[in-house]
């Protein structure tokens, strides 16, 4: 018996290659290696997917399902594929496994019973790809509305303004005959109707459809008996236009008196088709689009994407890894945007629990300072579009100067390194100190947030929570340490973690991370000084404008302010590499972190709900993409 337990222990520590070997030897009938060029992992027979998933989770110890997404291989094998990336919550690389199905009657068993974090991701795959998931508790559309025609991410589905499969479009280049898409559409709008549309049956039933599709089944007429007290259950709608939902997010609550009995997140109000557009774009085109995902910390988004594409490019011959200075600059930008992100998150969370706008105004002041720096370096305050494959848009300028962005009517003109030194050594630490003095021991804040919105460590892992939400539940999982990238291994910092799993713990994690970011930045400054004058490009000149990326798949993930941001990219089609991604998927932390929201909110008061949502810290650009 003991031997068996010990054997299981050792299985749970196998390396990725050995894990795959283990699967192959023990389940040979269900597993085959993915031997396509540039691909990794295994293909699982979809009939036995559930069993294999349990083996992967329980025996091999890959307890954290990071990403589950669909790919349509029309013309490249004509099948649909679900791709899963599972990790160990103790750290290490990904075990990639896939399940394939026919395009016409796409059906793959649901993994929600194994990892509840697959819930929204499978709904998304149903919505956008039309893959059915038998066993899913509520397989409804999630980003589009019920009744929408077709599954838009399929390769043969065309949008109303469709022009060509991939950019650059012939109408723009060469020659430049730009036209307004409206003029080519008979309705003058971005719409397209099926020829057999029946207008007589259409009514404005969007409201009803939303409530009925949620399966709440609340009967307002029904009077319940609660301990001899007659009461009604009530459905309360919050959003999409609500000041505390951090954007166009919607929650439908069922309440019993003041207590929330169930909560259903409704999203898609900012679904702007990032992935469909991303597949038409060239690889370089997508960098500015990633800025608009998590628009609070655009530098971090850039970083994840360039890492993913660099992974693919490194398969080819013509690839130079970024220089040391480039890596140091990237880390600096990412850490600065993490500071922006956490200040913003804490500020708006405080808004939600009652400290209305006073703290956030002080935080925005600091944010403006960092944004000034971004503007001087990248040319834009928010949408920096700064990183490139194998390099950066540009090095630091000598001086930070601007006549258009006046602070108190003074033209700003600072030495860049001095500006940075002052900001990192004085201003930001001062703000964090101020924040802690006023808030951390604040009685009202403690009363409002301690013990509210609890998520246990097991649940956090099972729900695929990421970022401060995961670490606030006592799981010390930070990708910068667990699966390191860039120059993080040589930097000295600690992973912030708090055990309680409530709103207050998440707040503490963010404050600690602010301090750790400052600690990292302080180590970056001497590195920048040491590499002054070094090029940010390996061979001294910028990379190719339209690189041809070798065939294969890659998953680049970074620890962004909101959690694990991953990019799953498939390069296929064309000969000897592609100029446009075949599949471009964003594993959005804000989206997946919402999966446990209903679970976390149950049993708390209506007034706590906005606080719980605020403590997850979502941004809708990323949630809905």
């Amino acid at each position: 018996m003991e031997n068996l337990a010990a054997a299981e222990q050792s299985v749970a520590k196998l390396s990725i290659e050995d894990s795959i070997e283990y699967l192959k030897s023990n389940h040979s009938q269900a597993i085959k290696l993915d031997d396509r060029d540039g691909y990794q992992g295994v293909i699982v027979d979809s009939d036995q997917l559930l069993d294999i998933a349990r083996v992967i989770r329980d025996q091999l110890g890959f307890d954290y399902l990071s990403s589950a997404t669909a790919v349509d291989y029309l013309g490249e094998g004509d099948h649909m594929e679900m791709v899963y990336h599972a990790y160990r919550s103790s750290g290490g690389g990904a075990l990639v496994f896939k399940a394939q199905t026919d395009r016409d009657a796409a059906e793959i068993p649901s993994l929600v019973s194994v990892w509840r974090g697959a819930d929204f991701q499978e709904r998304e795959a149903w919505d956008l790809y039309g893959i059915r998931f038998p066993g899913h508790p509520n397989l409804a559309r999630i980003l589009m509305w019920e009744g929408f025609e077709g599954h838009p991410m399929r390769k043969d589905w065309r949008e109303a303004y469709y022009e060509e499969e991939r950019k650059p479009f012939d109408s723009r280049w060469p020659g430049g005959h730009v036209h307004r898409a409206e003029e080519k559409n008979v309705f003058g709008k971005n719409v397209s109707y099926p020829p057999d549309i029946d207008l007589n049956r259409l009514m404005d039933n969007s409201e009803e459809a939303v409530y009925s599709s949620l399966g709440l089944g609340v009967d307002v007429e029904r009077i319940m008996d609660k301990d001899g007290f007659e009461t009604n259950e009530l459905v309360v709608n919050m959003g999409p236009h609500h000041p505390s939902t951090h954007g166009v997010f919607r929650m439908v609550l069922t309440v019993d008196g003041e207590t929330v009995t169930s909560l259903e997140p409704v999203m898609g109000y900012l679904h702007r088709n990032h992935e469909k557009i991303g597949e038409r774009n060239t690889y370089l085109h997508n960098i500015p689009f990633t800025d608009r995902l998590d628009y609070i910390s655009s530098m971090g988004n850039n970083h994840g994407y360039v890492l993913a594409v660099e992974q693919l490019m490194s398969l080819g011959r013509k690839y130079n890894p970024p220089t040391y200075r480039c890596e140091a600059l990237r880390v600096m930008m990412v850490e600065l945007s993490r500071i922006v992100n956490h200040l913003w998150a804490i500020g708006f969370w405080l808004n939600d629990i009652g400290a209305f706008f006073t703290p956030v105004l002080y935080f925005i002041q600091e944010r403006e300072r960092i944004l000034d720096f971004f503007e001087a370096v990248a040319g834009s305050r928010m949408m920096c579009n700064y990183m490139r494959f194998g390099g950066l848009f540009g090095d630091l300028p000598e001086r930070i100067k601007s006549v258009s962005n006046l602070t108190n009517d003074r033209v700003r003109d600072y030495n860049t390194m001095q500006f940075l030194t002052e900001m990192i050594n004085e201003r930001i630490p001062r703000t964090i100190d101020e924040l802690e003095i006023l808030l951390t021991q604040n009685e009202i804040l403690i009363e409002r947030s301690m013990g509210v919105g609890i998520l246990s460590a097991e649940d956090a892992i099972n729900f695929s929570a990421a970022g401060p939400l995961l670490r606030g539940s006592g799981v010390a999982y930070d990708i910068r340490r667990a699966d390191p990238y860039s120059i993080y291994p040589e930097l000295d910092f600690d992973v912030a973690v708090e055990a309680e799993g409530d709103m207050y713990a998440r707040y503490r994690v963010r404050v600690t991370e602010l301090r750790e970011s400052v600690r990292i930045l302080k180590q970056i400054l001497p590195r920048l000084e040491a590499t002054a004058g070094e090029s940010i490009w390996a061979d001294g000149k910028p990379g190719a404008y339209a690189p041809r990326v070798p065939h294969g798949e890659s998953y680049g993930r970074v620890e962004n302010g909101k959690g694990e941001l991953g990019y799953y990219i498939v390069s296929a089609g064309g000969r000897g590499g592609s100029s446009n991604p075949w599949r471009y998927h964003v594993r959005a932390p804000s989206f997946i972190n919402l999966t446990p929201l209903g679970h976390m909110s149950k049993g708390y008061k209506v007034a706590d709900i906005v606080g719980i949502l605020g403590s997850i810290d979502i941004v809708l650009g990323e949630t809905d993409r």
């Binding site: 303004y161 022009e163 008979v186 971005n190 702007r272």
Partner: protein, 294 residues
């Protein structure tokens, strides 16, 4: 516009000398506009990235309260100005139109950023409304992605200028100064795709044409309605090859009935281009003659 007493009182109506500093003579419209423009309350309503810059504009560094955009109200019933700050999606345009209908008149719409103005980088997206003006009347467009706070302030000041020019006396100027209540904007419906109720007839007509064409061409599967127009030529060619001679009249019905037809739009664009070129040449010649004069 500031109330400058001296300037205001320079009218045909004489003001006694001793009262000159206490009395102002002005038109009702001007007084009304003065009050309105300096107490515009925007709706606290953020859609996407631009909302972040809108918050930055509202916070201490830029502070639009200085210009009378005093507080942001979360309810449409207390708001005068809707700042459409971000990408309008088909799913979201339904609540937006409802919110607009709930705002009391006079009400204004400011399209902030490229997305709200015309779809921006996400224009081709299947869930994206290519510009707020497809559904609501927009007063001011602010370009940028996202616009800087300065640009937003500039747009808001432009709106104030626009209000200065409006008149209560002229009912055609703005709908709310006319007679009777203004019609609410019809709320779009989410069908197979989003449906603007104002285009119902058009969709019906197109559906009929499509049905007859389906018969005519003997095709079993027809492309979606809108693609018929863009692909009209290809369809016709393919059909001729397959189904013999074609009834040109039946096909011509499929041509755009709303908006500018393709060829005409091309003409207009060509004219605009020529005019722009002429203007450019004129400017250049002027500059040259100026340089000579100096």
């Amino acid at each position: 516009m500031d109330l400058n007493l001296q300037e205001l009182n320079a009218t045909e109506f004489p003001v006694p000398v001793e009262l000159e500093n206490n009395i102002a003579i002005t038109s009702l419209s001007q007084l009304y506009n003065w009050g309105r423009r300096n107490s515009m309350w925007p709706m606290l309503f953020g859609l996407a990235c631009c909302a972040i810059e809108m918050i930055a504009t509202a916070s201490s560094r830029f502070d639009f309260s200085r210009f009378g955009f005093e507080v942001m109200r979360a309810t449409p019933r207390q708001a005068d100005l809707m700042i459409v700050s971000g990408t309008v999606t088909k799913k979201m345009v339904v609540p937006i139109v409802r919110l607009y209908n709930q705002m009391p008149e006079p009400k204004y719409v400011l399209a902030m950023g490229a997305c709200a103005s015309g779809g921006g980088p996400f224009k081709e997206g299947y869930n994206v409304v290519s510009g707020m003006d497809k559904y609501l009347p927009v007063d001011v467009y602010v370009p940028g992605c996202p616009p800087t706070p300065q640009a937003l302030l500039f747009g808001m000041i432009a709106l104030q200028r626009k209000i200065d020019g409006q008149s209560i006396a002229n009912g055609d100027d703005v709908p709310w100064y006319g007679e009777g209540p203004a019609e609410p904007t019809p709320v779009p419906v989410l069908g197979p795709d989003i449906i603007d109720p104002r285009q119902m007839d058009m969709i019906r007509r197109q559906a009929e044409v499509a049905a007859s064409e389906m018969e005519l061409l003997g095709q079993r599967e027809l492309p979606a309605l809108t693609q018929l127009v863009a692909a009209k030529v290809e369809t016709a060619q393919a059909a001729t090859a397959e189904a013999g001679p074609l009834d040109e009249d039946a096909l011509s019905v499929v041509l755009p009935t709303g908006g500018t037809p393709w060829a005409e739009a091309e003409d207009i664009r060509e004219k605009r281009r020529l005019r722009a070129l002429a203007r450019k040449a004129l400017r250049a010649s002027r500059r040259a003659s100026q340089a000579e004069g100096e």
